[in-house]
Each structure stands twice: as structure tokens, then as C-alpha cells.
């Protein structure tokens, strides 16, 4: 398909050369102002404006109003009065932490004109203690609507004639009727909004100011606005039909308005008014307030101009700024006209190149990190294995040592069991000698209870250490058998003790005998056990 296109290009170059010259002639002719012709009869295109109007009726109109003002200043009431309908009932609270914007869309119809009206209210404006962030949400909202339209316009497949235009066409700024001057918040807000939207300032609750005060207030307000460079919307005076009325209205700005949906009987008519003990403020009475003027200017005379200004001035400004911010220009480096397309393509290439480079970088970084991690892990592995080896060795050594110990112990055990065996044999042998009995008894006395076996051990020990002594001291021969001689050995033990303690003093013999008696009594239960 693409090759086909190029072939086509070459084929028609000869023809285009000719037509381009023709076209340039055509351009030339267009550059000279076109000649006007007089017609000899009625053609009929005077119905063109009607055709246009019919089409607009079919499509319907769209109008978006933004109301900025403190809570309770009468924004909703004024809108209700302007459009003669009760839009919303509830009052908003004063306690919102931030300023929010609430947008609601209504479809109104009057005779055959359909109007899609969007009212955007600022909720919580001026209620906070710290009002620094008050106007930012409003600016953001307006920008967001422009952005949405711009996005739709830049789409490839777009449907602009179907698009619900949500850009704010007019901003009604409500000034509270203090009678002195503009508040700082008002000034700041209007200054930040004046390049984005058409601002019409109104003095709300104008029934609180007297006529003379009102004049002074208006003059003061306008001078303040002018001296601070705030550009409010001026009604257009270039078309003769409405120039006069617009010019006079411009002098009445800002409009002092009163809103009310309540009806009061005045004379023999029911009019919209506010009833006070001292009188009735009629909303549609030009002497009482400027409501009628506002309605005239806003809706009847200049609605179309407001929309036009929004589209051709504010929106274009936003668009230009936004596109320049994104880097698009109309004129390239050598003053060659750049197309949006080329710039876009260039940017896209740049972006892709950048992205690829970043991807490469990240890949390399990733690889590097992986390598590092691998090295660390290897190191750790090596250390771990070294440790393991070490531990293994230690364990081996430990094991050997324990083996050694065990062997020793086993040897000891064996030796000991041998000794035990021999001692038993020896014991049986020594049972023939009384001394040994006594010795046994003595030991029995010494350690009562189940240490009878031990006594045998001790016998040997006593023998070795002090046993001979005992043997020498009490050379009593024992002739009885083993079981019997136990009992008898008791008696002999008693005798033994009494004999054994000669060194301690002969005087104590009496006591000793009692001691011996106690001992014997003590020994007895041992034996019985």
C-alpha cells in the first residue's frame, strides 16, 4: 500500500505542477480582497442565519456558570432567581476543611430552546481559618475543564460536535456587602482567575446597603479592581445593536443584587421579593436592585459572547501555554515552520531513546548487582564449609578424647570390678577374724543403713589405715558362725567402744557405757532393716 502511494506521488507530479500554479493563482486571488458582486435577483441565502439557528436549536445550547463566594452569601438563591427554578434545597455547612467545587447540570427548556446549564458552586469558600489554599481548587477546576477539552481536541478520533462542553463560561464573584472595600481573599482570588475565565463581580445581599453607600462602595470596588490590575469581563461594545446598552451597563458594574424565590403581594401582583418589617425589597424592581440588569446582561444579551470569549480567548491562551509547556513550537530552529506532528514525532523518538537507554542502564545495574550478590554468597559458602571442616575436626578430636576417656574408664571399671571381686573374696576370708567383725560392727555403727556393702569397703580401708590398730586393740577371737556372730558382734561392739576409748579418760566410763547403750540401740534398728 505504501509503495503504491509513492508511485502515485510520482505519477501526478506533472499534473500537480500545473495545478499548483493554478492554486497559487487562486491564492493570489484570495489574497486580494474578493470582488463583490451584485446580484440581479433574489437568490435566497438570507435564510442562512436561520439555518444556523435551526441547527443550534437542534443541537442545544450549553452554558456553565461558576459561583464563587462565601458560604451563605446567597449564591444558590441568586441562581434560582435568575433561572426561575428551585434547583437545590439544602444549605451547605460552614465546617468544611477545604474548599470543594460541586457541579450540577440541569436541562432547561424555554419555548423551543434547550439549555444545558451547569452550575458550579464553591463549597466552603472563606470558611477556613487559614484561607491560603482557598482559591487553588477553583483554578484547578477551571484548568481541568480546559484540559479535558484540549484532550478531546487533540484526539485522533474525536467528536467535537457531540462533546459536552464543560468549560466555565462565566464566573459570578459574590462580594459581601460590607460597604468598605474588597477583602484580600477576594482580591487574590479574582487576580488568579481573571486570565482564565470571564469574571462578573456582583454585590450580594444588596438590601443591606443604602443607596448612597452603594454608590460609594461601587466606585471604591471598581477603583480597587483597576488599581490591582484585575481584568473583569467587559460587555462588548463593538456591535451597534447592543453597544449602547452594553456601554451603559459597564458603568453599573458591579451589580448589586438581591435574590429571592418567595413571592410577596405588592399592589395587586405577586412579585418576587423579600419582606422586612420596614418594607418589601422587590427583586425585579430596578430601583431596588440591579437584578434585572444582571439577568439581561448575563442571559439575554451576552450569553453567546461569553461563550465565544471563553473559547477564543481563555481557552486559546490555556492551549497555547499548555502546548508550549510540552515543548511544541510553531517555528523551528531555523525559522522553518514546524508542524505539531514533526515535533511530536521528534519528542516521541527522544522519549523512546531515553527509555531504551534507561532500560540498558537498569539491565547493567541488575547484572552487576547479581554478580556482587553471587560473589558474596560464594564467600559465605566458602566460609561456611571451612567452619564445617573445622567443626568436624574438633568433633573428631573430641570424639577421640572421649573414646580415650571411655577406654580409661572401662579399664578402671574392669580394674575396679576385679578389685571388687578380690575384695569380696578377701572379705569372706576376713570374716574369720573377730576384729574384722568388730571392725565391721564399728563401721556399721558409723554409717547406719544400707551401707552394709560399703562397710566391707571400709573394712579394707580401715584395715589399711587404722584397721591394724583396731585389730591390735581388741584381739577378741570370734568362734561363732557368721549369722550368729552378728548379734554377738553387737555385744562385742558395745564392749569394743567401751574398750576403745581408754584414751579419752577413764572417768568417762560410765557415760561411755550409756553412750554405748545408745549406740547399741541405734545400731539395732539398723540391723533389723
Amino acid at each position: 500500500m505504501i509503495t503504491y502511494i509513492f508511485l502515485f506521488q510520482s505519477h501526478i507530479t506533472t499534473k500537480t505542477a500545473h495545478t499548483s500554479s493554478q492554486v497559487s493563482d487562486h491564492e493570489q486571488k484570495q489574497k486580494d480582497s474578493p470582488r463583490s458582486l451584485t446580484m440581479s435577483g433574489h437568490v435566497g441565502f438570507e435564510s442562512l442565519p436561520d439555518q444556523l439557528v435551526n441547527r443550534s436549536i437542534q443541537q442545544g445550547f450549553c452554558f456553565n456558570i461558576l459561583c464563587v463566594g462565601e458560604t451563605g452569601i446567597g449564591k444558590s438563591t441568586l441562581i434560582d432567581t435568575l433561572f426561575n427554578t428551585n434547583f437545590e434545597d439544602h444549605e451547605s455547612s460552614h465546617f468544611y476543611p477545604h474548599v470543594r467545587l460541586k457541579a450540577q447540570t440541569y436541562e432547561l427548556q424555554e419555548s423551543n430552546v434547550r439549555l444545558k446549564l451547569t452550575i458550579v458552586n464553591t463549597v466552603g469558600f472563606g470558611d477556613q481559618i487559614n484561607k491560603e489554599e482557598s482559591y487553588q481548587p477553583i483554578v484547578d477546576y477551571i484548568d481541568a475543564q480546559f484540559e479535558a477539552y484540549l484532550q478531546e481536541e487533540l484526539k485522533i478520533k474525536r467528536s467535537l460536535f457531540n462533546y459536552h462542553d464543560s468549560r466555565v463560561h462565566v464566573c459570578l464573584y459574590f462580594i459581601s456587602p460590607t460597604g468598605h472595600s474588597l477583602k484580600t481573599l477576594d482580591l487574590l482570588t479574582m487576580k488568579s482567575l481573571d486570565s482564565k475565565v470571564n469574571i462578573i463581580p456582583v454585590i450580594a445581599k444588596a438590601d443591606a446597603i443604602s443607596k448612597t453607600e452603594l454608590q460609594k462602595f461601587k466606585i471604591k470596588l471598581m477603583s480597587e479592581l483597576v488599581s490591582n490590575g484585575v481584568q473583569i469581563y467587559q460587555f462588548p461594545t463593538d456591535d451597534e445593536t447592543i453597544a449602547k446598552i452594553n456601554a451603559s451597563m459597564n458603568g453599573h458594574l458591579p451589580f448589586a443584587v438581591v435574590g429571592s424565590m418567595d413571592e410577596v403581594k405588592v399592589g395587586n401582583k405577586m412579585v418576587k421579593a423579600r419582606q422586612y418589617p420596614w418594607g418589601v425589597v422587590q427583586v425585579e424592581n430596578e430601583n431596588h436592585c440591579d437584578f434585572v440588569k444582571l439577568r439581561e446582561m448575563l442571559i439575554c444579551t451576552n450569553m453567546e459572547d461569553l461563550r465565544d470569549q471563553t473559547h477564543t480567548r481563555h481557552y486559546e491562551l490555556y492551549r497555547r501555554r499548555k502546548l508550549e509547556e510540552m515543548g511544541f513550537m510553531d517555528v523551528g530552529p531555523e525559522n522553518q515552520p514546524l508542524s505539531l506532528q514533526e515535533t511530536y514525532e521528534a519528542k516521541r523518538h527522544e522519549f523512546y531513546g531515553e527509555r531504551q537507554r534507561k532500560e540498558e542502564e537498569m539491565k547493567q545495574l541488575f547484572v552487576q548487582r547479581v554478580k556482587e550478590k553471587e560473589a558474596i554468597l560464594k564467600e559465605a559458602e566458602r566460609e561456611a564449609s571451612a567452619k564445617f571442616e573445622h567443626l568436624k575436626r574438633v568433633h573428631q578430636e573430641e570424639k577421640l578424647r572421649l573414646e580415650e576417656k571411655r577406654r580409661l574408664l572401662e579399664e578402671e571399671i574392669m580394674a575396679f570390678s576385679k578389685k571388687k571381686a578380690t575384695s569380696e573374696i578377701y572379705q569372706n576370708q576376713t570374716f574369720m577374724t573377730p576384729g574384722s567383725n568388730l571392725r565391721k560392727d564399728k563401721d556399721r555403727k558409723k554409717e547406719p543403713g544400707y551401707r552394709l556393702e560399703l562397710l566391707c569397703f571400709d573394712v579394707r580401708a580401715c584395715e589399711t589405715i587404722g584397721g591394724r590398730k583396731d585389730a591390735e586393740e581388741a584381739p577378741i577371737l570370734c568362734k561363732t558362725k557368721v549369722p550368729d556372730h552378728r548379734r554377738s558382734s553387737q555385744a562385742k561392739a558395745i564392749k569394743m567402744i567401751s574398750n576403745a576409748q581408754p584414751l579419752e579418760g577413764g572417768s568417762r566410763r560410765a557415760g561411755e557405757s550409756s553412750q554405748a547403750g545408745s549406740l547399741a540401740s541405734r545400731a539395732r534398728p539398723v540391723l533389723q532393716r
Partner: protein, 361 residues
């Protein structure tokens, strides 16, 4: 009305669905005054209309244009004058500002002498398509500028009148080819030229045959069926569709008939009054073009044809060089495919491709 689009916003704003409020009005609001405002604005700015006439020489194109706008837009070529036959297709454009009752109209008429006059008329529609696309391109370039003008000058062709020679048989291959291509790029209104050579019955038969031909080849001429918005449009447009193509006669000479001064052609056997519905259908054409559907022509050009061009252009811009005379070669497919379309459509495209490849080698 279309469903409401929820407008986005950084703070939590809700766009609730539109409530249609009841029509009990307590008083006057004044919304309908916006219509007057529109009118005032439109009259101040003036209107633009670009029309193109295509047809073989001698079919009365220049005369027709003069008759339509009741002024000497073109100097009509009289037979007998030695005007050299143009060798290639040329495009002449002329711009006039005409005013009627305060309404200013900037009219641009583009003529195409040399169309279909050669022996080999192959691809004689290319310069025309190139011209149309060039106007779209110009508008597009203006539209995507950063700092753009308040009112972009509109040179796009809003309507193309195609003159069918009164053979009385059916559409010729040249006609078919041309109509097929152009219908997708611009609003085409075919007319039977020089209808004074056909009797009423012949005229009707010719008209029916042409309508059948158009249907067979799924050529959608203006008013296009697929762009009818609502019932009223459908009714109105179907009446017009029954009478397309109009059998017209053009004349810029005045004659006296029954004491009235009328535009007409004086023949030996009578005077053909141009504005008489019994004689020819010129009033219908004039009403369609100027009195009732002019705005519609402009709207369809802007909303449909221009958007199609823009879509194709923006999609393919990095593959193609931008230049004048670039022909729209990837036309948008017709919106309502009918059963009969399947066979001739692709065959035609293939044949076209083949032709080109032949010529290349």
C-alpha cells in the same frame, strides 16, 4: 441529547445527571434571546461557501453557476468562440462576496475545465481529489498551530456538483469511477445537465436508472442516508433523495414570457423557463443548495469529511511526506455496508491497484 459526560475535577465535584425541569415557568428568563445573539454574531462574521462544479466541457457548468447566484461569476464560454481546449485538467477558482439583506456570503467557485475531455481520461479525478485534500490539509495545518487565528479561513470544498451528460441511458464508467471516489471525500450532488434535450418521460427513466446505478455501486450522494439525524431529517431528505439527480437547465438570459421577465432559454419551439418547476428542476437544486441545506453541507463537510481526512492524516503522518496533491488513498469505508456492495467494491480496488502497477512497469 447525548448522555452527560462527567467533567473531571481535582476536588471532589460531582456532575449529576441532568434533570429535566418541568416547564412551569414562573416568569420570563430570556434564554431564547440567545438565538438572536447567534444571529447577530453570524451576520457580523459573514458566511463562507465553497462550491465545485465538475463535468465535461459544454455541459453548461459556468452557466449553471451564474444562474444559481444570479450574477456573472464566470464568463460563460459561448460555442463558436475559439477557446483552446485545455490539455490537462485545470482548476479555476474564483471568489466573490455577495450580500443579500445584510447577510454577507463569501462564495468560492472552483471550475474544472478539461475534465473528461481527453481521449484517455484515466485518473482525471486525481487533481480534483488532490485539490480537495489540499484544502483539508490547509485547514488542518491552521488548526494544529500553537497560536492560531480566531477564525480559521475555511477553503474546504463544501459541495461538488457533478454534471451528468444527458445520454438518457445510464451512468458512464467515467461517471461511476469519479462518483465512487469523490463521495467519500466530499458532498457530491449529481445533476442531469442540459435536461432540455430529454422529454419528461425520458427524464424520469434516466433518473431511475441513475438511482439504480448509484445504489448498485453504493455511492452515497448528498444528502447521505447515514447522516440523517432524526425523523424529520429523514422525511425531508428522503423526499429529496427521490428526486436526485435533478434535471436542470441553466440560463443567464432574460426573456419576456406573458409579460414577466424570466430567465430562460429561447428555442424555436418555445421558451424554457429556468425557474418553472414544470420545465426543469432548477428551483429544487437552488433550494437544496442555498435556501435549506447550505449550513448542513458545511456541517457535514466539517464534522464528517474533514474528520475522516484528519484521522487518516494523523495516523499516517510519519509514513508519508506531506505535500500538495496528495491523494486520499485510504478512504473511510462506507458506513452502512449493504449486501450488494461486497462484490463490486473489492474488485474495483484491485483493478485500480492493478492499473497502477501496470503503468509502473
Amino acid at each position: 441529547m447525548d448522555p452527560l459526560r462527567h467533567s473531571p475535577s481535582p476536588s471532589s465535584s460531582r456532575a449529576s445527571s441532568p434533570r429535566t425541569l418541568s416547564c412551569e415557568r414562573l416568569g420570563y428568563v430570556g434564554i431564547e434571546a440567545v438565538l438572536d445573539q447567534l444571529k447577530i454574531k453570524a451576520m457580523k462574521m459573514g458566511f463562507e461557501f465553497n462550491i465545485m462544479v465538475v463535468g465535461q466541457s459544454g455541459l453548461g457548468k459556468s452557466t449553471m453557476v451564474n444562474t444559481l447566484f444570479k450574477s456573472k461569476i464566470w464568463k460563460s464560454t459561448m460555442p463558436g468562440l475559439r477557446v483552446p481546449m485545455p490539455q490537462t485538467l485545470q482548476l479555476h477558482s474564483v471568489t466573490h462576496v455577495i450580500e443579500e439583506n445584510g447577510v454577507k456570503l463569501k462564495l468560492t467557485v472552483t471550475d474544472t475545465p478539461g475534465f473528461g475531455d481527453q481521449i484517455n481520461n484515466d485518473k482525471c479525478w486525481d487533481p480534483i481529489l488532490g485539490y480537495i485534500n489540499e484544502q483539508y490539509e490547509r485547514y488542518l495545518q491552521e488548526e494544529i498551530l500553537i497560536t492560531r487565528q480566531r477564525h480559521i479561513p475555511d477553503t474546504r470544498v463544501h459541495c461538488c456538483i457533478y454534471f451528468v451528460p444527458p445520454t438518457g441511458h445510464c451512468l458512464r464508467p467515467l461517471d461511476l469511477e469519479f462518483l465512487q471516489r469523490l463521495c467519500r471525500a466530499v458532498n457530491v450532488v449529481p445533476v442531469i445537465a442540459r435536461a432540455d434535450s430529454l422529454t419528461i418521460e425520458e427524464r424520469e427513466a434516466f433518473r431511475h436508472r441513475i438511482q439504480d446505478d448509484l445504489k448498485t455501486h453504493s455511492i452515497e450522494v448528498y444528502p447521505q442516508k447515514s447522516f440523517d439525524e432524526d425523523v424529520n431529517d429523514k422525511i425531508l431528505n428522503s423526499k429529496i433523495r427521490e428526486r436526485i439527480p435533478f434535471a436542470v437547465v441553466g440560463a443567464d438570459r432574460e426573456h419576456m414570457v406573458n409579460g414577466r421577465c424570466v430567465l430562460g432559454r429561447k428555442m424555436k419551439w418555445g421558451i424554457i423557463e429556468v425557474e418553472n418547476m414544470a420545465h426543469c428542476e432548477f428551483p429544487l437544486l437552488r433550494d437544496l443548495l442555498i435556501r435549506s441545506h447550505l449550513q448542513d453541507l458545511k456541517d457535514i463537510t466539517h464534522n464528517v469529511h474533514y474528520e475522516n481526512y484528519r484521522i487518516i492524516r494523523l495516523k499516517e503522518s510519519h509514513a508519508l511526506p506531506q505535500g500538495p496533491g496528495w491523494v486520499n488513498l485510504a478512504p473511510a469505508p462506507p458506513p452502512a455496508p449493504t449486501g450488494t456492495r461486497a462484490s463490486p467494491g473489492p474488485a474495483k480496488m484491485c483493478r485500480w491497484a492493478e492499473d497502477n502497477s501496470d503503468e509502473d512497469f
